[in-house]
């Protein structure tokens, strides 16, 4: 199940790109699902565990993957206790987030109204809510309610 917290969470890993660069493991890129993510989103092929290739950038290391793919790989491989910011993912990552959440309970933060399509199931966990949401309109308005307001503006 995908558990979504709108706004800042004290335990969130906000800059997923930097976290990925310092924590990914070579064997991640041998995984078939990881390779599918890299192929479908970054239009790139894994050559070996340290080399990826596409027609624009040529050969490049995993640290140069897109922010969206890095976040998806973290959701897929890291322990479910980690809370990652999925506003680093575009809407083209949404279906893969849902796919990962079918296999594993994941908790994420969201700082915008991501478009999950018309068919999804997730829990919004702000204010200790635990209701499963599958209505895009309800999701949209919970997003706009929780993402607005001064309480969501950081002081630092």
């Amino acid at each position: 199940m995908l558990r979504v917290y709108f706004g800042d969470h004290p335990k969130e890993i906000y800059n997923t790109s930097v976290y990925f660069n310092n924590s990914y493991q070579d064997q991640w890129l041998s995984d078939l699902f990881a390779r599918e993510l890299i192929r479908k989103i970054d239009c790139s092929e894994v050559v070996d565990s340290n080399v990826i290739r596409n027609s624009v950038l040529g050969s490049f290391p995993p640290t140069k993957l897109s922010g969206g793919v890095k976040t998806l790989l973290l959701l897929y491989f890291e322990p479910k206790s980690k809370i990652f910011n999925i506003s680093t993912c575009g809407d083209n990552c949404a279906k893969y987030i849902l796919k990962i959440a079918e296999e594993k309970d994941i908790t994420v933060t969201l700082h915008h109204a991501m478009y999950f399509g018309k068919h999804f199931q997730l829990k919004v966990i702000n204010e200790k809510r635990r209701k499963v949401i599958s209505d895009p309109e309800e999701f949209l308005f919970l997003a706009s309610e929780y993402l607005r307001g001064d309480s969501n503006a950081r002081e630092d």
């Binding site: 506003s87 680093t88 915008h112 949209l140 503006a153």
Partner: protein, 314 residues
């Protein structure tokens, strides 16, 4: 800083070109379109100049803003294009929103965050498309606004404005159409939800609606026959554009506002247009513009029609 700024950065493999039109530009869209690649190139050029192997063409300095000491760094940057990549947590802070006000820089921000504290235009939100040799910037929200709203069959007008703009559209609505004020742009989506099944026209200033437009557009996708938008730059812009105020300089200014609007003075273009309207009407008692109380002159049927038709003028 004022005016449109052409920006181009390239290396041997890739090239990004963008015309920056206002003080705040936001880059959003799908993952893997090249936003971070562009930011990394700007960072390399900012650190190493031409010895980075990167070519930058821009009439202004291009700088990267990031890290914990962003406030100190910002104090040293003037008359520049400042690029900020996602992952910088300060983007959401009140300190950032106040820190960039009254600066003479333009800001290009890559983020999907709901930046409600920044008054950016729906016209300066871009995505990168990759369907050509080089990535291409494209406005994310185009043709959202209706141009003709006379003789339409809406059930309800919801205005962002609660003062002059609301008074105007309340008069236009007459008894045929209900008209309510959301009392601010951040209440628009909440207000829409209160009227399911109604055919609603949302009337708001495009100049500062950037943070709210994502939610509104998603709601419109769910209810394409119920929700419509009328989004002039601002209500004051609409009056100026209508030609009601006779002046030699107004048409020139409206043709290319960026050349006249200094970002250090006007954080949002709507403030400029309000000042422009006030300054051009202050000597004429019957049309002296007052944001809190709209003069009767603007509400006369023949004048109201001219104002409503102003969006049709190119």
């Amino acid at each position: 800083m004022r005016g449109k700024i052409n920006f181009e950065i390239r290396n041997k493999r890739i090239c990004f070109r963008l015309m920056i039109e206002r003080n705040i530009t936001v880059l959003r869209g799908n993952s893997a379109t090249g936003k971070t690649t562009m930011m990394e190139m700007i960072r390399d050029y900012d650190n190493l100049g031409e010895s980075s192997g990167i070519t930058l063409k821009c009439q202004k300095n291009c700088r990267i803003l990031e890290g914990r000491d962003w406030q100190e760094r910002l104090k040293t940057i003037h008359d520049s294009i400042v690029f900020i990549d996602e992952g910088n947590v300060f983007l959401k802070s009140a300190a950032f929103a106040s820190g960039i006000q009254r600066t003479d820089n333009y800001y290009v921000i890559a983020t999907r965050n709901h930046l409600q504290q920044l008054p950016y235009s729906i016209d300066t939100i871009y995505e990168i498309r990759k369907n050509q040799k080089y990535p291409r910037f494209q406005k994310l929200y185009q043709n959202l606004s209706l141009k003709h709203i006379l003789n339409s069959d809406f059930d309800l007008f919801i205005t962002e404005d609660q003062k002059s703009g609301f008074q105007f559209f309340q008069r236009v609505a007459d008894d045929r159409i209900a008209c309510i004020s959301a009392q601010g742009k951040s209440n628009l989506s909440r207000m829409i939800r209160k009227y399911p099944g109604k055919k609603i026209l949302v009337i708001a200033d495009a100049a500062a609606l950037g943070a709210e437009i994502e939610t509104l557009v998603q709601y419109q996708k769910l209810h394409p026959d119920e929700l419509f938008f009328f989004l002039p730059e601002s209500f004051e812009w609409l009056i100026l554009q209508s030609g009601l105020i006779k002046s030699n300089d107004i048409p020139e200014i409206l043709k290319n506002p960026a050349e006249y609007i200094a970002c250090e003075k006007y954080f949002s273009w709507e403030r400029f247009f309000t000042e422009l309207l006030i300054s051009h009407t202050k000597e004429i008692s019957y049309m002296c513009y007052d944001k809190s109380e709209l003069p009767e002159f603007y509400q006369k049927p023949e004048h109201a029609e001219k104002i409503l038709r102003a969006m049709e003028i190119d």
